[in-house]
């Protein structure tokens, strides 16, 4: 039986409720919301002048009208007082136009509340491993231990003994303030090279090819979807993962006549929803064989070139006109250079690609026509290319992304209305750090370093590799073993002095142990291995600036207190730096200690001014506040008439700069199709029955870190769903809801089988990063030349574990496709 809230009335925000700008801190789209807060003992009335919404609440509101779902309400602490909180989608925000997603609508109820009992999993105090478990303590006590162990290890070895996992995103607990705080510590004060990002096992770009070609991956404006002739989607599923980009921009685009080409081995919900809006005749779904995107893209590129459907003028003026500009080498998995070079290198016939991709040749031609064939009057066709993790975490990342940018460059679809070749994005962006050049390219494969016994101290910032890394079975086993050595050493040193404790820890790490510091908002799964746990704040418990998928920069304002002693990450980083400086001086290392100066920040705004503002002098908190939920599109180029002036789309002048070339010319990528690129993929495919496709679903945010305590979500999916064709289910003796194990040579994981008639035989789709069954357990360690993982290509066998458990009985297993 479905979860019933049993709520039939909500408090009304009074006319004088405080109003705060909020950018949803979940996905890349960054929908605008308004947070209303008011004292616990006050309430508004139904008359328009009695409530903050200014509408007659005694009447039924119409469709798209203002309404608070119970999930948009909570009682939280603000300056120490209990206040009502209501977070409603902003009707005036150009990003979402008043729409709310299933994630953003739950911002209020996903706040920690001592009154309503929500999110009591949030960390409130620094914790240290003491007496065989984690004990609360002061910031000074916890940071002293972190600094003493870290400084000692670096002093006796080098900064290479410090391994750092740190988020690089905006929104959530990221943002310009917090990437700067961590970046200044690890890339400014130190030059840590053994570091990795939250979602991949190295410190690298997800889109090296695009950047090397001169094209920043977020180059368009969302309105381009409404101005275009064709939307070309490859490896993305925006109706689920960028929901209001789809409904507020794609849908009007299709209603304006745009056709859609979708490349995805799976019939995703985006395919069905596009068919509903545009009509099936205007949607071309190329359900290619898994991992063959490059062959398809190169065939489209070849066909476009051969037909002459290219923008000659653009190629002449804005792209490199020699032969090879950057040769293929260890850091560049394909040569970069001229259009002609790329056509020659990438050449593959439509028929050959049809064979590789398993789709009709005529459909590939049709896709090329929809993307590039000029209109009957000779005018060029406008096309937006959108891609995401299907190719980023796919086969041959570098060459595949290069192939997509090739198509956009050849057809002049960058920097112009109705164009763009862009990532759809996951989190928002909010990256501002000192140079990472010391990391090197290719960078360290950090997971492998840790598995092989490398590193002695591991600082982790809002990453849970237990749920979100590849080869996770092995990673977890070894990380735990190494961390346990240190726990044992701490336990054995109980009651001794701080110096003796540090000696014991250092001795343990020199014997192969790992000292783990985990900074997070909850006690995560990898946090089980931590010796020090530091409680962080989230967006709206602090002010936070981020930009969305069209580079729209907003300040999401603080409206409540962080729980307990929790602090913004930037101030935690500052605290570590200050303690490092102190400890290093005590050790007599004054010169090194000096490198940790400059962290005397009182607030997140200080960190913002020290970092982002230093390179963007027009941008201040005050000005961002004034720009509200519509913000300004980066880069900010001025301040006029009291408003920040932004840039709707990049490269409108036809000058390409992302690669740093002085000539401003974009490069094409000459990356031919070469089959399975990452080690072990081909063999794994041959020896297992099912391809375990995987990705996100709209109801969850990332690794469920808050959703795991959200009754509405956990009632729907108590276990990660695994979509499977009913005939495959019958052959395995499975019925809906059965718990199944997916296993291969890399490890095993579990899920709940969800019958899906549209699934191809032998393909399953598993929702990723679940705390109840991490898909990463069965991903092999294979990466590309630049250490980008291929999470999407996993093959496994499947067996039944158990009948549907109690919480699974009664939930719906009907098709997710709408029936209208």
């Amino acid at each position: 039986m479905a979860f019933k809230r049993q709520i039939d009335r909500l408090p009304i925000p009074p006319a004088d409720a405080k109003v705060h700008n909020v950018t949803c801190h979940y996905c890349i789209v960054g929908c605008g919301y308004k947070a209303y807060t008011w004292p616990r003992n006050k309430q508004g009335g139904t008359a328009p002048d009695q409530n903050a919404l200014g509408i007659d609440l005694s009447q039924q509101q119409g469709a798209m009208g203002e309404w608070a779902s119970p999930s948009m309400y909570n009682i939280v602490k603000q300056n120490g007082q209990d206040v009502h909180l209501m977070v409603l989608p902003d009707q005036e925000c150009v990003v979402n136009g008043g729409l709310a997603s299933i994630r953003g609508s739950r911002m209020a109820e996903n706040r920690p509340s001592e009154v309503t009992g929500t999110q009591q999993q949030r960390l409130t105090d620094p914790l240290v491993w003491r007496y065989g478990t984690w004990q609360p303590t002061t910031w000074d006590d916890a940071l002293d231990l972190v600094a003493r162990v870290t400084a000692r290890i670096i002093a006796e070895g080098s900064e290479d003994d410090l391994v750092v996992s740190m988020f690089d995103h905006g929104g959530s607990a990221g943002g310009y303030e917090n990437t700067w705080g961590t970046g200044k510590l690890y890339f400014g004060s130190m030059k840590v090279k053994n570091c990795r990002i939250h979602n991949r096992p190295a410190y690298n770009s997800e889109v090296h090819a695009s950047r090397d070609m001169g094209v920043d991956e977020l180059n368009y404006a969302y309105e381009d979807y409404q101005l275009t002739d064709t939307i070309f989607l490859i490896g993305g599923n925006p109706t689920e993962t960028q929901t209001n980009l789809f409904f507020n921009h794609w849908v009007p685009g299709m209603q304006n006549g745009a056709r859609v080409v979708i490349v995805d081995p799976r019939r995703s919900l985006t395919v069905q929803h596009c068919e509903q809006v545009a009509g099936p005749e205007n949607v071309l779904h190329l359900a290619i064989n898994e991992g063959t995107d490059l062959a398809l893209a190169n065939a489209i590129f070849t066909h476009i070139a051969d037909q002459g459907w290219v923008d000659r003028d653009f190629i002449e003026k804005s792209t490199f006109r020699g032969d090879v500009a950057v040769g293929e080498d260890e850091a560049h998995p394909a040569p970069l250079g001229s259009f002609e070079m790329a056509v020659e290198k990438c050449r593959i016939s439509v028929d050959e690609a049809a064979e590789i991709c398993g789709v009709p040749a005529a459909d590939i031609v049709k896709a090329a026509e929809w993307i590039a064939k000029p209109h009957e009057d000779g005018t060029r066709r406008k096309c937006v290319t959108a891609y995401e993790k299907g190719v980023i975490w796919g086969n041959d990342n570098y060459r595949t992304i290069g192939a997509l940018v090739n198509i956009a460059l050849a057809t002049g679809n960058i920097g112009r209305e109705g164009g763009g070749v862009c990532r759809l994005g996951g989190h928002q962006e909010g990256y501002f750090r000192p140079s990472d050049a010391h990391v090197g390219r290719p960078p360290t494969y950090v997971d492998r370093l840790l598995i092989n016994g490398g590193g002695k101290v591991h600082h982790i910032w809002a990453c849970d590799h237990y749920k979100t890394t590849l080869n996770a079975s092995e990673f977890k086993r070894i990380h735990k073993k190494r961390a346990d050595m240190v726990k044992d050493a701490i336990d054995a040193a109980a009651g001794k002095t701080r110096e003796e404790l540090v000696d014991a820890i250092v001795d343990a790490v020199n014997r192969g142990g790992l000292f783990v510091v985990d900074v997070d908002i909850i006690h995560s799964q990898i946090g089980q291995n931590a010796h020090v746990i530091l409680p962080a704040a989230e967006s709206n418990e602090m002010n936070l600036a981020s930009m969305n998928g069209e580079r729209r920069l907003r300040l999401s304002e603080r409206y409540m207190d962080p729980p307990g002693q929790a602090k913004p990450d930037c101030l935690i980083a500052a605290g570590i730096a200050q303690h490092m400086e102190r400890v290093l001086r005590e050790m007599g290392k004054n010169e090194y200690a000096d490198q940790f100066k400059g962290f005397d920040w009182e607030s997140e705004e200080d960190a913002f001014m020290d970092g982002y503002h230093s390179a963007n002098p027009e941008v201040t908190y005050e000005r961002l506040r004034a720009m509200g939920n519509n913000g300004v599109q980066e880069p900010v180029v001025g301040f006029e008439d009291g408003k920040l002036v932004g840039t709707p789309r990049l490269y409108a002048d036809g000058v390409f700069t992302r690669h740093g070339r002085e000539d401003g010319k974009a490069l094409f990528c000459g990356g031919a199709w070469r089959g399975w690129q990452a080690a072990g993929k081909e063999e794994e495919k041959k020896s297992h029955r099912f391809w375990v496709n995987n990705g996100r679903a709209n109801i969850f945010w990332q690794n469920w870190f808050l959703d795991q305590e959200n009754e509405f979500v956990m009632d729907r999916y108590p276990y990660p769903f695994v979509e499977m064709n009913p005939e495959d289910m019958a052959e395995l003796g499975l019925v809906a809801g059965d718990l199944i194990e997916l296993y291969n040579g890399n490890g095993a994981t579990q899920g709940m089988v969800y019958p899906t008639p549209t699934a191809k035989r032998g393909h399953v789709f598993m929702v990723f990063a679940s705390p109840m069954g991490a898909q990463g357990n069965i991903v092999n360690p294979g990466v590309n030349e630049l250490v980008l993982p291929d999470y999407k290509h996993v093959w496994a066998d499947i067996r039944k574990i158990a009948d549907a458990p109690k919480e699974v009985k009664g939930i719906s297993f009907k098709s997710k496709e709408v029936v209208l």
């Binding site: 039939d8 609440l57 009447q59 039924q60 309404w67 729409l99 709310a100 997710k816 029936v819």
Partner: protein
């Protein structure tokens, strides 16, 4: 098979507006000057008991348009043919739901084919056989389900609602 009838009827009811007849309206009392006596506020929303239909009026899998708790809140009464948790009537298979999508208030349409309620606005859908659980969509509550009672004569009464109805800060408008 499509059931656009419900969409049309629902929309008409939806647009009609203003015809609020609730228990709340009758509760106001006139008191003499200077005698303002505090009437203790009730802790729960006071729902009307409204007769929706008789069991004999329902056919399996044929949706009946209803409105509850007032004319501005369209709903659907269903006899599913198989007993479901929370179902009433002799066969334990009668349920009723709001048809205002708890995402953005579009009128849901019923698909008899798979016994779901579907939103034409943003494609959310709800399972009539699983207590209105959202199968997929953008709403953050399952479909508000009306609490039903069947009397000795087979008359079906709605007397409550499990979740907040779209477009209202209180299920019973006052």
């Amino acid at each position: 098979m499509k059931c656009n009838r419900l969409v049309d009827v629902g929309r008409r009811q939806f647009l009609r507006g203003g015809l609020v007849a609730t228990a709340g309206a009758a509760a106001s009392t006139v008191v003499g000057a200077g005698e303002a006596r505090a009437t203790p506020a009730l802790a729960q929303v006071e729902y009307p008991s409204n007769r929706l239909a008789n069991v004999a009026d329902l056919k399996v899998n044929e949706p009946m348009d209803i409105a509850y708790p007032d004319a501005d809140s369209p709903g659907v009464l269903l006899k599913l043919g198989t007993p479901v948790e929370g179902g009433v009537g002799p066969d334990g298979d009668i349920v009723a739901f709001s048809v205002l999508c708890p995402h953005k208030g579009y009128i849901l349409s019923y698909s008899g084919e798979d016994r779901t309620l579907n939103c034409p606005g943003h494609f959310s859908r709800f399972d009539a056989e699983a207590g209105g659980q959202q199968i997929w969509g953008h709403a953050t509550e399952n479909l508000p389900q009306f609490v039903l009672r069947v009397d000795d004569k087979g008359d079906i009464y709605a007397e409550g609602c499990t979740d907040l109805i779209f477009g209202r800060m209180s299920n019973v408008l006052a």
